[in-house]
Symmetry: C2
Subunit: 164 residues, 2 copies
DNA sequence: TATTGTTATACTCTATAACTATA
DNA sequence: TATAGTTATAGAGTATAACAATA
């Protein structure tokens, strides 16, 4: 469900007062995220979930990264990543390799041959991103990205704007 | 878990490249929402969840609203609201009244005597909102709210800025 | 003892489908 | 037939705790 940007439920909603909700960041972020994820699902379908795409992207940008570092980078628990990474490995997108130097660690990489698949996914994600940003001017889009990074405490020295 | 704004996992994360993720609205919205919700939980504890507070706020702003209209206003399925509203009713925060004029409908209201409780919750939520917005200047905060509403297709005629 | 990764388990949020009662 | 609301159920995403293997 949920397609483009004009909200389908808008008609039903017209006569409802939102009270102070449109002034709360928490509320707007929840609504915006739901909207964007629904559009992501429309665009990518069964291919990957938003979380899976994030994992692939981080592994692609950090070949050899371990699960604990990946979890820290995403502010998730390591136990959350295990099943997702197993699924991506099973689908032939990721490769996990135990390190000879420390048998506890596993180095994560895109599977050989999965680079092209990943590039295609990334192009589809970027088309989706462009679509949801169409409601904003390029300057507004850039400013929204900047403010969200600021809210997250990135943009300081951190892994934000240039960051590769 | 998760407290104020300086990210605790920042140290672990420092040497990780985020690749294109900081340029994706979807990724930033997910991260920002997780951060804000964690702070909400720290601030409100057992009192109410973000979703529950949203329900109370909408009912307070639209006394007598029915569940189907409430669900439409939040872009949620009516079946999602049933258990949440039952819980809020059980806790003495909401009152549900079948309409004499149409026996299928239930009018929702804050329970008599729950207005003060709601006012307290709202004050705590607004303190939480002020805290998370502290990373932004007042102008940036206002602009972030505006851009999120724009992304959502609000701010057109709709129930956004003044809206009560 | 400490760390990495996995597993078992549970909780929350959401949806779909089937139901009831009312219209 | 259509609508409002409930219930059963399932799936995704997250966490905590306990574990095995390794250090």
């Amino acid at each position: 469900m949920s397609n483009g940007l004009p909200d389908p439920a808008a008609a039903q909603r017209e006569d409802v007062s939102y009270g102070p909700l449109p002034g709360y960041l928490g509320h707007l972020l929840r609504r915006a995220q739901a909207r964007v994820f629904a559009d992501f699902a429309d665009a990518l379908g069964e291919a990957v979930s938003p979380a899976e795409f994030g994992l692939l992207t981080l592994v692609a940008a950090n070949p050899g990264i371990t699960q604990v570092r990946l979890a820290a980078a995403l502010s998730l628990d390591k136990s959350t990543l295990s099943p997702a990474l197993a699924r991506l490995t099973r689908r032939g997108l990721l490769k996990r390799e135990r390190l000879a130097s420390d048998g506890r660690l596993q180095a994560l990489r895109l599977a050989p041959g999965a680079e092209a698949t990943y590039a295609t996914l990334r192009a589809r994600v970027e088309a989706h991103e462009a679509r949801i940003a169409a409601a904003l001017s390029p300057a507004e889009h850039a400013e929204l990205l900047r403010l969200l990074r600021l809210l997250l405490g990135w943009d300081l020295p951190g892994p934000s704007a240039p960051a590769r």
